[in-house]
Symmetry: D2
Subunit: 295 residues, 4 copies
């Protein structure tokens, strides 16, 4: 996969999904050729199961004579021709995206994401970190990132106001991604819907195995020989949203739960950071319960 | 992991599990030293969860002055000292083991196992292949292996006599391993118990995900990014026996179920052949629902 | 990756490489749309290093009103427009391809390829097996495949006539792929050139490490923690041709050379079969010393 | 692998290598039993190639009535009996080890190691960071770690005094490990010898491929399909020391050198942190050019 790492590598990125039929690629590529677009990446997928077609195309912004807004307006005509069900976005990699990270006490994913953002690996700025504990405030501050603490009452039935506060905080940043980086609270349905397609969670198991709490303990009890992690979009059904990325690592009988926790962290970090980068680069197209990932 | 591949590399192999306490290793190693045993492999595991201790030790047969039966008789005294709960076996790698393979129509695991046996990769002879279809008879015959066809009626409630026939056939070979190489029949409880610790199944998913029928279809529907296979001992509860080995392979949105079936075959072959070899080399110690694998 | 496994899934496959410039995709996709081509797979790569553009597109044969020869004739005009340097092929997945396999004594890759061909995993027929030893003749015959034995003299300087015989035999089948499946002879330069882009070798190391003879012994001596295998096109420089596929497996201090040989076989089989399948499905585009693989 | 993560899990760890002969295990385990040692981990390796035997045994410190110094004194007698060539260490996991990290400008390995140390994943304290550039000083300081800047002249022939300063600084901490975390200077021979068995380097290729400078550029030029990283002990011969750990990640034609650099970082971090942890837990026994790793 290619990344748009350098500033003069500014790109316009089209992501599109629609019911499949003949001629879609020709329409899109003819349009891109007409505006002078020099294609640097192009990927297609025709899904025989759903009958849908998906594409992602990146052109050099400098090769196109017009700005992103004008390009969007022009492409609307093409999209209309393709059909009313067409879902598409056209983004400018030169417009920095914003990410808000939700955390509890576990530090490793936050450390990892902030380190990657600082190292230029993520095409986004981290707008804020929101924690239901204060323990990770110093980590955020060491990176110069705003930290908001929202107190969550012990009784789950009394957490509504806390979630409202989180909602207000998150929305104040209008983020392109809301990352649940080992945030140990289940989002209420209204927030799942509000942030649909933008909220990414890291679950510390190879889903659909070991849904819910303490997956490493479940894995230890079952005696599996590999443990994993899953990055998925958050939906109202717990740990059942569209999967973006998964990976595993080998364990054996000598690994106790604490060893699995330690080894699993490495996989969680890899899987979450990959999933988030792909999301931010508009490489992930959600369709129903599944994703197309043009990595 | 080391394999005892050559004939003059004959070994006596002790596998032992018992409640853990101080001095067990000293007792065993002193015994082995007293009989002159040159240790070529030794592995230990103390399980803090169950409080059990496990070991596997292989000595050069030529370094020990006595035969395997006499060695077993002598070791009984040591085992008694260690404690009444001690479970142990002492085997002679020079005694060829026997394997019976159960199949349906899927050829790849059978092909793979017969090829490995022919190539000297499995420390066993394949005594027979038993199929509930006739389609794999030529494969077995091409390798000079006896094939038995047992007809299974369509109605599951009428399959008792067929299973009885399978039981009689299998038991006539007194095998060290009964391998369900994509045998598409669920073993009845009495056979699970009869062959407990000897019957190995390959399930074409990364358990505990996708138990039961058509796991690749389940995987496709869920949109997972890795598919896997699991080699486990057969128990009365479907796909829930102690896991011996698992592995996975990456898939993506472009892989349809038929692609997963094809790619999954490679993982099934690897996982089953590894699990079977470890079982035959007495590297797998079962304790409760889990295994210790001294690979 | 998708495979064209079933007969009614007949496809026309265009593979093309050319110096990159704006509008190529539009030209190709407009052409495909005009002939009614329903695109089932499409992949692109713009190489900033060489300034070349590569694409592979598969359309349903049934969606195109004309035959492959007429389609080729029509596309020639498009190719001419794109530029004189354009390299392209247009193939019909309904035309069965032919493979000739060269072997010595090692059986595992031959077993594996014949098994996959029999199981419908390879979109080709195995036309013949040619061996410089007779030991694998029974394997070929068991699959009903012609086996030719060509005697190779011990003195490398006297092997010219033997290679001439191999050349004559291979060419008599006009194969789409010549597979060196652990063929322990170095092809002379004239054969490398004659079969350029068609001759695939499996080397039992993770190239460029351990070029030449006995790579597992070299790996053991160096103490590496992973061993691998490489499928590459054969060129005049030993083990230096364009790499199609590589993979590795973990080893540790307890693995002796014989263990590495055994474990390495599994990787060799996987890597060679993947590379060959991609080659046969026109997924591999060679450019200079490197490959673009639209897997 | 098990880790001694919690304070009341204090262990005494014996690591030993010697020419192999009958009875060594019995001698050691009898000794451990006599001092009341409750074995929590035990691993053995008999190397047929060199004729050496290696073992690592960990006992609960609380099960042994005496301190580590007295235990060492007692074990000396056993070691003498085993033979004059015996190499052994007996360490107390309760004695915190010290690590000094050498860096240049690349931040990711330093970030990773400091994060792991802070998270309790490394059984050691980071005593200091030494850089030949000042750019990573803030990273060290954010973790409260001393940073020393040593200026290196551009002319390699004039770097002697700089290396002398590094030597004095490193030795002032008497560290158990000197980690070259992407330190872009080749250690002079006297430092290699001075820190033999303690200096760990991370090389950003799968050695022995791509020794020396700019390995990702070499990998890109060769067109490999996997890139890797290697953690090894530093010796006078560049990138040729005993390998502790290696791993790889898949790349394809679409990955440019900058992509490989980014993806390779993840592997470098994993490989270096694993290798360092094993070294600090006395799991790595060096023999000649190779290592035994009781992970």
């Amino acid at each position: 996969m290619s990344s748009a790492g350098v500033i003069d590598d500014r790109r316009y990125v089209l992501s599109l999904g629609c019911p499949d039929r003949t001629g879609i690629v020709a329409k899109i590529s003819t349009f891109l050729a007409e505006v002078g677009g020099w294609i640097v990446e192009a990927a297609y997928h025709a899904d025989p199961d759903t009958g849908w077609f998906f594409t992602r195309q990146a052109v050099r912004a400098s090769s196109v004579g017009i700005g992103i807004d004008e390009l969007r307006a022009k492409f609307q005509t093409v999209a209309d021709e393709i059909g009313a069900d067409t879902e598409w976005t056209l983004t400018d990699s030169g417009e920095r995206k914003r990410v808000v990270i939700l955390v509890s006490k576990e530090a490793h994913c936050l450390h990892d994401l902030l380190g990657r953002a600082a190292g230029g690996e993520l095409p986004a700025e981290i707008s804020a970190v929101i924690g239901n504990h204060k323990s990770l405030e110093p980590v955020a501050k060491a990176h110069g990132i705003t930290f908001h603490h929202v107190d969550f009452p012990k009784d789950p039935s009394e957490r509504g106001p806390a979630f409202d506060e989180v909602k207000t905080l998150v929305d104040s940043y209008d983020p392109h991604a809301v990352v649940l980086a080992r945030f140990m609270q289940v989002l209420p349905q209204d927030l799942c819907e509000r942030w649909a397609g933008r909220a990414l969670n890291i679950h510390h198991s190879f889903l659909p195995s070991f849904v819910g709490a303490r997956p490493y303990h479940q894995a230890f009890a079952r005696g599996v020989k590999l443990i994993g992690a899953t990055c998925h979009y958050v939906t109202a059904e717990l740990d059942a949203g569209p999967i973006v990325e998964q990976d595993v690592i080998r364990v054996d009988h000598s690994d106790e739960t604490t060893d699995m926790v330690r080894q699993g962290r490495d996989i969680e970090k890899l899987v979450l950071s990959r999933g988030l980068r792909w999301h931010l680069e508009d490489r992930v197209l959600v369709h129903g319960r599944k994703t197309v990932v043009f990595s």
